[in-house]
């Protein structure tokens, strides 16, 4: 790693750490001071869970090929947060949600998240180990066709009421979305892969775009830490926009000054 990259990395980490530390304190005292912008997917998720409870059919959350220990660890943590929030709401349902993933490392993470969601409603004893489904697949850079095909079959066999796909998917997500839409099931989907994201935007009932996948805790929960995380991401984005505008202005000004 060269010196410039190293310095930039340290600066970004320090700024993120300071923003998070300060914002968490403020969010604990005055949560209402941080109104969050409306995201359609987070408006749709409670309805999707409500439908699952009323119809006594399971809903499905998938990590895709995201897992811990690699480049997609943060995304796997975001998916786990989605599991906590959805399980907390669905704990009163007679049917447990189904959690799937193709990277085996998602299993302990998703298992803990499911348990935490149920425990928050005092129903930890109702968690079933069969709620977690590892679907082994040869993961390429984006995802796996075998994984998508298995999900397509599972959605029908398990009579899933709706799906939340937050993780890593490529173009193969089209198979899952197509099967779900044909069956009249609602799907909230997002991917950190650009191709998968484009397909999700066009085919999902409600898409999650980019960093929106990381803020489930802030939108569906009431925790100050996750709210601070969402606000810190927005703050960093504004700092980045400001930095880019300043850099562009500097280049234009130097060109003009230089003739």
């Amino acid at each position: 790693m060269d010196t410039t990259t190293r310095t930039l990395t340290i600066v970004i980490l320090v700024v993120a750490f300071v923003a998070l530390a300060v914002l968490t304190q403020f969010a604990r005292r005055r949560r209402a001071a941080y109104p969050l912008r409306m995201i359609a997917a987070y408006e749709a998720i409670p309805l999707l869970i409500g439908e699952s409870i009323e119809s006594a059919r399971p809903f499905h959350v998938s990590f895709g090929s995201a897992g811990i220990g690699g480049l997609r660890t943060a995304l796997a943590l975001a998916s786990a947060e989605m599991v906590v929030q959805t399980a907390r709401r669905a704990a009163i349902s007679p049917t447990a949600p189904l959690i799937t993933g193709s990277d085996a490392s998602f299993l302990p993470l998703a298992g803990g998240a499911l348990l935490r969601g149920y425990a928050a409603r005092g129903r930890a004893d109702r968690v079933s180990p069969t709620s977690l489904r590892w679907i082994p697949a040869l993961n390429g850079s984006s995802g796996s066709l075998a994984f998508a095909a298995a999900l397509t079959g599972m959605i029908g066999v398990e009579r899933v009421s709706g799906s939340i796909l937050v993780g890593t998917y490529g173009a193969e997500i089209a198979l899952v979305l197509d099967a779900a839409t044909r069956g009249g099931r609602a799907v909230v989907a997002g991917s950190d892969n650009l191709v998968g994201q484009a397909v999700a935007y066009g085919m999902a009932t409600t898409p999650l775009i980019g960093e929106e996948m990381f803020v489930a805790g802030a939108y569906l929960g009431d925790d100050a830490g996750t709210l601070a995380g969402a606000v810190a991401t927005d703050t960093l984005r504004w700092l980045l926009v400001g930095g880019m505008i300043a850099a562009i202005s500097f280049v234009i000004a130097s060109r003009l000054a230089g003739g």
Partner: protein, 206 residues
């Protein structure tokens, strides 16, 4: 006791996380810290190997239960159990060539067929996008999709208007959108990482 274990987990994560971060940032210059980082990463790889074992147990647990209770999708579960057991037996008996042949003749062939299906699913999805409701973003999405597809058709000689528009679309708005998305994901990833290092992540606290 549970609280104490929680505090211990947070302390371990913060300690190991910071050491690994410092080791990766400073590289070989940091000497012992870098060696420790490499050791931690090796332990991570071994732990992830164990996760595959947990996954295998999960796979057998889910499908044996379905066979025993004669649940929906019984046929699929039987096929899966037989296939998984066959591959395991082949691996245990050291018949790597047979295992590779199974992979190449069954899985690769099936995935190729599924690749063809993805194309039809995408076309049907694009068609349904406008059926769901005509919105400005839907119209823009469809027009861009059509221009990009038409511009990529073979047999076009020289620079036509369609190929020029396609090239501009790909190099300016698509590239800008792509970078915007990736930067957004990168920022969210940084914040998630920092939350873990600060012991704020729910997976550690609860």
């Amino acid at each position: 006791m549970r609280r104490l274990l929680g505090v211990l987990a947070i302390a371990l994560v913060i300690g190991f996380g910071l050491l690994t971060l410092i080791g990766l940032l400073t590289g070989r210059d940091s000497g012992i810290v870098y060696d420790a980082t490499m050791f931690f990463l090796q332990i991570t790889a071994i732990t992830l190997g164990v996760a595959v074992l947990i996954g295998l147990l999960n796979l057998y647990n889910v499908h044996i239960r379905r066979v025993v209770t004669r649940g929906r999708g019984l046929g699929y579960s039987i096929v899966l159990l037989v296939a998984a057991s066959l591959v395991l037996i082949l691996w245990l008996t050291g018949q790597d060539a047979s295992n590779r042949a199974l992979l190449e003749t069954v899985q690769v062939a099936l995935e190729s067929a599924l690749g063809g299906l993805v194309f039809f699913a995408l076309v049907y999805g694009a068609y349904r996008l406008m059926r769901r409701g005509v919105t400005v973003s839907g119209i823009v999405f469809t027009i861009v999709l059509l221009i990009v597809l038409l511009g990529a058709l073979p047999g076009q000689r020289g620079d036509t208007m369609i190929t020029s528009v396609r090239a501009w679309l790909l190099s300016v708005p698509v590239s800008a959108g792509e970078r915007g998305l990736l930067l957004g994901i990168a920022l969210a990833t940084v914040v998630t990482g920092v939350r873990v290092l600060a012991g704020q992540d729910r997976n550690l606290r609860d």
